[in-house]
C-alpha cells in the first residue's frame, strides 16, 4: 500500500492576494524615472515588470523600490 504524498503545485497567488497587506502604495512619477531598473532588481517579490508597471494585486508595500530609487521617482502614498 502506498501513502498519498503531499505535493504542492506552483501557482500565482499561492499565498493569496498579498496586495491587501499594504498600508502604503508605491506611485511612480514617470517624468522623474530614468529607467535604471533598480526598483525591478530589488523588489523582493518580483512585482515590478521590465516596463516598471507595479502589480498592485501582489505588491506588499514594503517600500524598498522607493528607497533604492536614485531619482526619488517613487513615492509611498497611504492607501485609502
Amino acid at each position: 500500500m502506498s501513502a498519498k504524498l503531499a505535493i504542492s503545485k506552483p501557482k500565482e497567488g499561492a499565498a493569496g492576494k498579498t496586495g491587501t497587506w499594504r498600508t502604503f502604495k508605491p506611485v511612480v512619477d514617470m517624468e522623474l524615472c530614468n529607467k535604471c531598473g533598480n526598483c525591478e532588481r530589488f523588489c523582493p517579490d518580483g512585482t515590478i515588470s521590465k516596463d516598471f508597471e507595479i502589480d498592485l494585486e501582489y505588491c506588499k508595500g514594503c517600500g524598498i523600490c522607493a528607497e533604492v530609487c536614485p531619482k526619488k521617482a517613487i513615492k509611498m502614498v497611504r492607501e485609502e
Partner: protein, 293 residues
C-alpha cells in the same frame, strides 16, 4: 555586468513579510540555477513562505525536510541523480538555525563525503520563523526574545568551520548585492563537488527596522565590515564587490548598529568589542588574501 535572465521562478508571491530579503535571494539563486534544480529546504522561514498547500509560489521542485537533515538528504539526492546520469543541481537552502546549530553535523558530513551539491545558508541571525529566538549566528549585543538584554556571546564563525572541510568553492553574499549573489551561485554550480555559500539576509521584524531599509541595511553591514563579501576557490581567497573598498576604508560599526532596534540594549563595551572584532577580522583576511596564512 553579467546578463541576468528575465525568467522568474518565484511566482507572485510568497507569504514572506513585506521587505523580507529571502524571496529577493531566492529570485537570484533560482535565476542562476535554472529550471533543472531541486531545492532541499529544512525547517526555516522558507519552508513557511512557499504558500499554502496545495499551492506553492516556487516554480522549481522543492523537497521540504526535517530540521537537522538537509545536507544528508541532499547527499542521497545528489548521488541518485549522478547515478542516473543526470546533472540536476541540488541546492540546500537553510536558515542560520538549521545550519549553524541544528543542521551542522549533516552539513559537515556531506562536505566531508565530497557530495556534489551547493549548500546555501541564508543568515537572518536568529530563529526568525518561530518569533526571533537567539541562534548561534546572533551577533554580540543583539536583543532577541530569548536574550532580551542583548546576547552575551559572539556570533559563531560558521565560515571558518566550513573552510576547515576544504570545500572546492565557498563564498559569502548579501541580499543587498543581488548581482554579486547571482554571479557567485552561477560560479558555484559550474564546479563539481561540495560548495558552500553564506548569505546575510536582513529581517525587518526581527532586526527591528522599517521594511524599506532592507537593502540599505545590507549595504551598511558590508560598508562597516560587519559582513565581508568574499569567495574562496580551492582555498584561494579573494574579496569581492563592496568589501574591496571596505578593506581600505570602513564606516563605524555603530552606524550599522544604530539603524536597528535589536541593538538598542547593546552597551558601549559591546560596540567597542564588535568594532575590535571587525578590525581583527580584516587583519586576518588581508593576510589570507596576500597568501601569508
Amino acid at each position: 555586468m553579467a546578463e541576468i535572465p528575465d525568467d522568474e521562478y518565484i511566482l507572485k508571491t510568497t507569504s514572506a513579510c513585506a521587505g523580507c530579503s529571502i524571496p529577493l535571494c531566492l529570485r537570484y539563486i533560482t535565476k542562476a540555477a535554472g529550471p533543472d534544480t531541486v531545492l532541499v529546504i529544512p525547517a526555516c522561514c522558507t519552508s513557511v513562505i512557499q504558500g499554502l498547500y496545495p499551492n506553492t509560489a516556487v516554480n522549481i521542485p522543492i523537497y521540504n525536510v526535517a530540521f537537522a537533515s538537509a545536507a544528508a538528504v541532499a547527499s542521497g539526492m545528489s548521488e541518485a541523480f549522478r547515478a542516473a546520469g543526470k546533472k540536476t543541481n541540488v541546492i540546500c537552502f537553510g536558515g542560520d538555525g538549521g545550519t549553524v546549530d541544528i543542521g551542522i553535523q549533516a552539513l559537515s558530513g556531506a562536505l566531508e563525503r565530497g557530495t556534489d551539491f551547493l549548500y546555501i545558508c541564508y543568515d537572518n541571525e536568529a530563529y526568525s520563523n518561530t518569533g526571533m529566538q537567539r541562534s548561534g549566528a546572533t551577533p554580540l549585543g543583539a536583543a532577541t526574545t530569548t536574550t532580551p538584554t542583548g546576547k552575551k556571546e559572539f556570533k559563531k564563525d560558521l565560515d571558518a568551520i566550513v573552510n576547515a572541510h576544504n570545500p572546492v568553492y565557498m563564498a559569502t553574499a548579501c541580499s543587498a548585492y543581488p548581482v554579486d549573489l547571482y554571479n557567485k551561485v552561477e560560479k558555484a554550480l559550474s564546479i563539481p563537488g561540495p560548495k558552500f555559500m553564506h548569505i546575510l539576509a536582513p529581517c525587518p521584524p526581527g532586526w527591528r527596522y522599517p521594511s524599506d531599509k532592507t537593502v540599505a541595511l545590507g549595504k551598511l553591514a558590508v560598508q562597516s565590515g560587519m559582513w565581508v563579501l568574499y569567495e574562496r576557490e580551492n582555498g584561494k581567497m579573494s574579496l569581492t564587490g563592496a568589501s574591496k573598498a571596505a578593506a581600505k576604508k570602513r564606516i563605524p560599526v555603530e552606524d550599522y548598529l544604530k539603524a536597528q532596534g535589536r541593538f538598542k540594549t547593546a552597551t558601549k563595551e559591546n560596540v567597542a568589542e564588535l568594532q575590535q572584532m571587525v578590525e581583527n577580522n580584516f587583519k586576518r583576511i588581508e593576510k589570507e588574501v596576500e597568501g601569508i596564512c
